[in-house]
């Protein structure tokens, strides 16, 4: 019962956030909307026994990533309204049509009978740090290490991109 209430409240919040993000003309509002959606999703994680993931969601996404976004928005000064005119001729109608088609396909998909695994209420998942850690460092240790590598490369790439001074631009042009 509690879950139902939570779902309704935060589901609506998530939708509101998402629509805000897409609709808002000012990127700062968009960022705020996205942050709201992320918090809501974190709540769903908790209600789905994914406590560790919920924590990570709040810390990394709603915290670090969104902060970064806002930081960039402020840095490059685009925190002003953007006009809504469309200059690609058929982009908007085509996009809307596709979205509609996509949505209806999803609806259709939801009404089909899907063959899945069996739910066993006596064996609920345990999303504690310990359980996730066990998984990560046993079964998934190699991919885990690879992600470490990925992050290093990403960090190095970001630094390299940020390092260009004005004088270097000529070199890039060539």
């Amino acid at each position: 019962m509690v879950e139902t209430v939570l779902f309704v409240i935060f589901g609506l919040a998530a939708l509101f956030g998402a629509i805000t993000m897409v609709w808002a003309r000012n990127p700062v509002y968009s960022a705020m909307g996205l942050m709201l959606t992320m918090f809501s999703i974190a709540v769903f994680y908790v209600s789905n026994s994914a406590h560790f993931v919920a924590a990570v969601q709040v810390i990394i996404y709603a915290g670090a990533v969104m902060t970064l976004f806002l930081f960039v928005i402020m840095l490059i000064g685009v925190d002003k309204a953007e006009d809504r005119s469309e200059n690609l001729p058929i982009q908007r109608p085509l996009a809307l049509a596709l979205i509609a088609l996509f949505g209806s396909a999803v609806v259709v998909a939801g009404r089909l009978a899907w063959t899945t695994g069996v739910h066993n209420p006596l064996d609920p998942v345990n999303g504690s740090v310990e359980a996730i850690g066990n998984e990560l460092f046993r079964k998934w240790v190699l991919p885990f290490e690879v992600t470490a590598l990925l992050l290093i490369v990403a960090a190095a790439g970001a630094i390299a991109l940020a390092f260009f001074r004005d004088g270097d631009d000529a070199e890039v042009d060539a």
């Binding site: 690609l88 982009q91 085509l94 996009a95 596709l98 979205i99 088609l101 996509f102 396909a105 998909a109």
Partner: protein, 623 residues
Amino acid sequence: MDLALSLIVLLPLIGMLILFAFGRRIGEPGAGIVATVAVAGSFVIALVLALDLFSGEGSVETVRWFEWLPAFGVEAELRWDQLSTLMTLVVTGVGSLIHLYSIGYMHGDARFGRFFAYLNLFITSMLILVLANNFALLFVGWELVGLSSYLLISFWFERDTAAAAGKKAFVVNRVGDVGFIVALMLIFSVFGSLGFDTVFDGAHNGELTGAMATAIALLLLVGAAGKSAQLPLYVWLPDAMEGPTPVSALIHAATMVTAGVYMVARTGAIFEVAPIAAATVAIVGAATALFAATIAMSQRDIKRVLAYSTISQLGYMFMAVGAAAYVAGIFHLMTHAFFKALLFLGAGSVIHGMSDEQDMHKMGGLAKKMPVTFITMAIAWLAISGMPPLAGFWSKDEILGVVFERGGLWQVLWGVGLATALLTAFYMTRMMWLTFFGEPRWDEGIQPHESPKLMTIPLVVLAGLSVVGGLVNTPFKLTLEHFLEPVFEAVHLAHAPEGSVAWILAAVSVAAGIIGIGAAIFRYRDRVPAEDGTGWRLLNNGYYIDDMYAGVFARGGKLGAAWLAFRFDVRGIDGAVEGVGSLTRRVGGWLRPLQTGFVRSYGLAVVAGAVGLLVWFLSRGGL
């Protein structure tokens, strides 16, 4: 024995290596001496070794050098039997005389040492050829003499004609070699070995029959025809006269060109079971003999006369070995080596004395200026014309006798041979007359002189051999025949007739010779005819066969090759390859506008794709 036999081949080889390495430093005449000593050494060793065989006590020996190609059942192995002995003696004997002569002839040439290195290379190769104990090694020698021939013909490579002639000789020989190689394939497929003993024993024991035997023998004939300048592959030999004259004497008269005859004789066991092929050999030989003799009548270049004469005489030898008269063929090979080498060396002496003039119409009256050359050449002239008791008489007479004795259609060949004998006497007399008799017709400033001793001594020795060389095999005492018989155990040797028939035949052929000589003397005795009628021109140009070859094979081939290379290959095949490339590029060009550069268009496409996939999955899911 092993070492001695090996040394026969190794001495010239060592000489060659020394001369290649230090020839320039040794210089003149040292290089010539080194080379001559090497070949003479081989000759002496061969002579010593041969004494046992001559006395009838020696046996066939083989020397194995090393394991070579076990896959073909052959080793690097030499064979010392009566036939190879005789060939070795001819090659090294005549060879050393010509080496000696060359020291004088090549005097002052910038690449004196290199010349003798090539000569030694040739002797080595020729010895490998005649001493080989299997087809593979024989083929090695066969090709190597071709190489030496190439190198020596184009020795004066600065002359375009010399370079072209060397190439032509090698290429035409190669055409014959294809026949030889294919013959080797067939032989190996039948016997599983290329060793002489296996093959000849097998052929003798009936393992080789019918069409296969004929095919092998005919293919061998193709090879032999290439090397021995028989129809239709003779065209290289006249051109080969571009080489220095000693080379013409050694390679293109005495030794290398007789390799084909040697090969047919050596493989007699195969021709024995292929009578059609043997007859073909004889016919080719007879035809070549007559054909070349007619051309020889009309040449003005003294060396070309001798070249066509060589082709003609080789035809004689082919006729003999084709008629299974192997001894007669080898006998003529030997005597011919003496007198033809002598003729060439004499011609060389004349050319030398005439400051490199080769046109006989510009000679005449040289007998007094060059007495030694004249006398020795006169002996050779009479020998080749078949005048008794000189060497040529005995060997030519034996060939004609054998062919006549075979009866039937063979007597047609005898007729051809007789006609050739007549023509031979005619053109040799013409050559002698134009050169040595009559009024001098020299260009101004030429001072004919006798050649130095170094050159005349070999002439004298060869003249001696041309006189007595025939006595080793006369109808009265068949020494050579008995000596060679063990080699030809596997074949039924054809023999010359005996008794009154023999006398009559001899008389007829001598008469033919005398008629030829007489006719020529009559024609040329006091003037030089113009010799430029249509018939003469036809003959002078060798019936235009060489020009025809040049047109069809050289020019036509080049045109065809150019079409293949620059049309078919570049436009056709490569065009297809490059076409694929440019097609890809063009298609890329058509598709380019799809890349609008707008990220959102790409996003639209991605979403469209994703939705499409989703719809497709759903429709497959049974909607």
